[in-house]
């Protein structure tokens, strides 16, 4: 079949890329080979637009066992325990078929974790939808939440934390990022690097169908009016089979049969076989007629590009086939030797003994294009705010507007659809700063949180990138965990657009700076480009998933006020930065201006000292201050608690609105026993930490002296109204 320009374009490849392929092969590729290049060279698999910038991120540290480059990142949490985690996007499929798109997103990220030998112990998600009034939003929200729950609950892994946000920027391009965290023994981590010649390449799991053929290309293409036609490429998830696959793999991993293992995700058999061979600098030969198929007459092209779910590729030690097959038979899963490793350094595809395609591995992997796309820096902007206008609104009304808004309303409507308790190790569930999951059978636990700040990133990408790493870090500190490392999902628009590429480059600069300063390296992640429709791109949305360690567990430190008559303190200085605040957006529809400045020194200092105070048992409750400012954070501590607080107006009064609604960073609210005040103040003073004693706790009411008084029950009602009426 003659490869025409049209065929090349339909495969998502540019003409220059096709010319490059011809040069590397020293001939024209056939259709099968073209398909394989299209899968390996698209953005999702090759990271061609992002690799140059991703290289800048800090990925190392004493706590890092494995950084980016494997199926997931691995960190050391002491006593030969390791945590394996990663976040991934499934944006485009979820827009097309929300239930299955979200479900298969969860399935995919779980495989990335257990393929490394870790039993998954927690799921998190960061999901973003368009404006609630947008006609598609409701059904997308329902579908995605059902899909996440449907998959996670069935496989029996608790979904313990997440965030759900609404913004018109996602109207035509929702974001569904799924994160999985698993526990493994340090000396039993499995990697995907192929080793040894003539080793068996084994296919395990579900049969191969025609699902998702060219899904990897779809993820790399913007939507247009014809997006509806792209429908047939969405896969259906089977969490039951994945549960069997997970148990079978974990069972096989108990001994030394596995040389290397990789899950079949985007671009299925193609990406898994090529990546394993590439890492091992070997060749791989596959006999495609051996691939278990669930449809009749599947062609080699279809088999190589199928994205049927719940499948793994294993390279097995000699003599281990029989015992390994017994395990997979027990779990009723297919187990077939479909090929072997070779020393040719080629991907050789045979079908009924005839060679249908042969490509040098490095042409697909290491020689895949890397682009240095042009980009421009974002210019700082200023919001036109007339301070006098602000006083047109009562503080109480502004507060209610925020607490009852879709973005700040209680998400129990969503989280109650996820089983958070299965596996019986969830010490702190969602609805808190970070979830806490115990390491099974041990006295220690991890804290996990996932966060994003698209508005900040849009207005000033470097600051936004810095800020979101800090916020994630603070969320772990505030529950008493030492932040160890992050995974990031970088959701952006079209990288061929200079401004978008600039957002990417600058956000990464900010992320890099914060991660380096805080010793909070990036161990895994995912890039999702082309989140745009008809040239309208989404706000830059880097999502940060962080993991921290609580060495010795005790009753969890929550953000709810613990008792009455204790002292409420604010750690960190309030400058009253009101630009880019939720207050301005919700009450005045103003969304321009600069985000608050991020002072990394204060972030580190304030957080480390707070952790010290927590470890000394001096903190009754703790909460970080982020979107919505001080007053919103205080109310969050009151809602759901029997106790509220009585807060004084600031002594140096410039503007009440700026003080209570400003979103200055590096701040925490803490509650301490009155008799511990001298001790705590001494620690703060000795470490040059700015703090204010802002009030005391009291039963039932939240009060700003002389300004407002509202009962916790009323706050609860206001905060729980929106979802129930949506």
């Amino acid at each position: 079949m003659k490869i025409t320009t049209q065929i090349v374009e339909k495969h998502g490849l540019k003409i220059e890329e096709f010319e490059n392929i011809k040069k590397l092969l020293k001939r024209e590729p056939n259709l099968l080979e073209l398909g394989i290049f299209s899968a390996m060279w698209n953005e999702h698999c090759s990271y061609k637009s992002s690799r140059k910038h991703l290289k800048k991120l800090p990925t190392e540290g004493k706590q890092v066992i494995q950084g980016p480059g494997e199926n997931a990142g691995v960190i050391d949490i002491g006593d030969d325990d390791a945590i394996v985690f990663k976040i991934e996007s499934h944006n485009h499929p979820s827009y097309i078929e929300p239930y299955q798109g979200a479900a298969t997103g969860v399935g995919g990220i779980l495989r990335d974790v257990f393929t490394m030998g870790a039993r998954p112990i927690a799921l998190l998600n960061s999901i973003h939808f368009g404006a609630p009034e947008h006609p598609k939003t409701k059904s997308l929200l329902n579908g995605v939440v059902s899909g996440i729950g449907g998959y996670g609950n069935c496989i029996g892994i608790p979904t313990v934390a997440g965030e759900t946000k609404f913004n018109e920027t996602y109207n035509e391009n929702i974001l569904v990022n799924a994160m999985a965290v698993g526990h493994a023994k340090k000396d039993r981590i499995f990697y995907s690097k192929a080793k040894g010649i003539n080793k068996s390449v084994v296919y395990v799991g579900s049969k191969t169908g025609r699902d998702g053929i060219h899904g990897a290309s779809m993820a790399s293409a913007e939507f247009d009016e014809n997006s509806d036609e792209k429908k047939p490429t969405v896969q259906v998830g089977d969490p039951f089979t994945e549960k069997l696959l997970m148990e079978a793999c974990l069972e096989l991993m108990k001994d030394n049969s596995i040389i290397s293992i990789q899950d079949m995700g985007a671009a299925g058999l193609t990406s898994s076989s090529v990546e394993m061979a590439s890492k091992g600098d070997l060749g791989i030969e596959l006999e495609l007629d051996k691939v278990p198929c669930r449809e009749e007459n599947m062609s080699p092209y279809e088999m190589m590009l199928s994205e049927s779910q719940e499948r793994m590729l294993i390279i097995l030690e000699d003599e281990k086939e029989k015992d390994a097959k017994k395990i997979f038979d027990k779990w009723d899963l297919d187990f077939v030797v479909i090929g072997k490793t070779t020393n040719t350094k080629n991907l050789t595809l045979k079908f009924h003994k005839k060679i249908e395609g042969e490509i040098p591995i490095d042409a697909l992997a290491s020689k895949a294009p890397i682009y240095d796309r042009k980009w421009i820096r974002k210019k700082p902007s200023k919001a036109k705010i007339n301070l006098k206008d602000l006083s047109n609104i009562k503080i109480e009304d502004a507060l209610i507007k925020i607490l009852s808004s879709p973005n700040h309303s209680n998400k129990n409507w969503i989280t109650s659809q996820y089983d958070q308790m299965v596996m019986c190790d969830t010490i702190q569930r969602s609805g808190t700063d970070a979830a806490i999951v115990r390491i099974h059978g041990k006295d220690k636990a991890i804290a996990v949180s996932v966060d994003s700040s698209a508005n900040y990133c849009k207005s000033h990408p470097i600051t936004g990138g810095k800020q979101i790493v800090c916020e994630n870090w603070r969320n772990l500190i505030t529950v008493g965990a030492k932040p160890l490392a992050i995974t990031n999902c970088l959701n952006f628009g079209n990288p061929e657009n200079k401004e978008i590429m600039g957002e990417f480059a600058e956000c990464l600069e900010g992320i890099k700076e914060a991660c380096e300063f805080l010793n909070y390296p990036v161990v895994s992640g995912n890039v999702s480009f082309y989140n745009g429709t008809n040239n309208k791109n989404i706000f830059p949305t880097p999502v940060i998933g962080g993991v921290g360690l609580i060495k010795k567990i005790s009753k969890p430190l929550s953000h709810h006020f613990y008792k009455d008559k204790s002292i409420v303190m604010l750690i960190g200085k309030t400058f009253g930065h009101i630009e880019q605040s939720v207050f301005l957006k919700e009450n005045f529809s103003i969304d321009d201006g600069m985000p608050p400045e991020v002072n990394l020194h204060n972030e580190k200092n304030n957080g480390e000292i707070l952790l010290k105070l927590i470890n000394e048992g001096l903190i009754l409750s703790s909460h970080d201050v982020s979107s919505g400012g001080l007053i919103t954070a205080l109310c969050e501590m009151a809602i759901g608690s029997e106790n509220g607080a009585k807060i004084q107006k600031p002594k140096k009064l410039n503007n009440l609105y700026k003080y209570f609604f400003g979103e200055d960073q590096a701040r925490y609210i803490i509650e301490i026993e009155a008799h511990d005040l001298p001790k705590v103040e001494k620690v703060l003073k000795d470490n040059n930490i700015y703090y204010e004693n802002i009030g005391i706790t009291q039963k039932e009411y939240f009060e700003i002296e002389g300004e407002l008084k509202i009962s916790n029950k009323d706050l609860f009602k206001i905060n729980n109204e929106w979802y129930n009426s949506y």
């Binding site: 097309i96 078929e97 169908g209 429908k231 969405v234 089977d238 089979t241 449809e295 779910q309």
Partner: protein
């Protein structure tokens, strides 16, 4: 008029339920079973005397709500 709408998964779409049900029946001794696909059935009674108009309405209902056109097919038949 009464109609029956049978909704099935599209040909190439994975049917996890059908697969497990088939395996279970095979394990129960039914051994010449080739495949099972699970779907659903709607019985719809509509107040419309003209059959063509009625079918058009049912078709609209399918497209708008009853059927997930992304992964399902459907067949409308009149119940006598």
């Amino acid at each position: 008029m009464k109609f029956s709408v049978t909704v099935t998964l599209k040909k190439d779409v994975l049917d996890p339920q059908g697969k497990v049900v088939k395996n279970t029946l095979v394990n129960m001794g039914i051994n010449n079973l080739k495949s099972i696909r699970q779907g659903k059935n709607f019985e719809i009674e509509i107040d419309e005397k003209d059959q063509l108009l009625a079918e058009k309405k049912i078709d609209e209902m399918c497209k708008k709500l009853l059927v997930n056109l992304i992964i399902e097919d459907y067949k409308i038949s009149k119940i006598l």
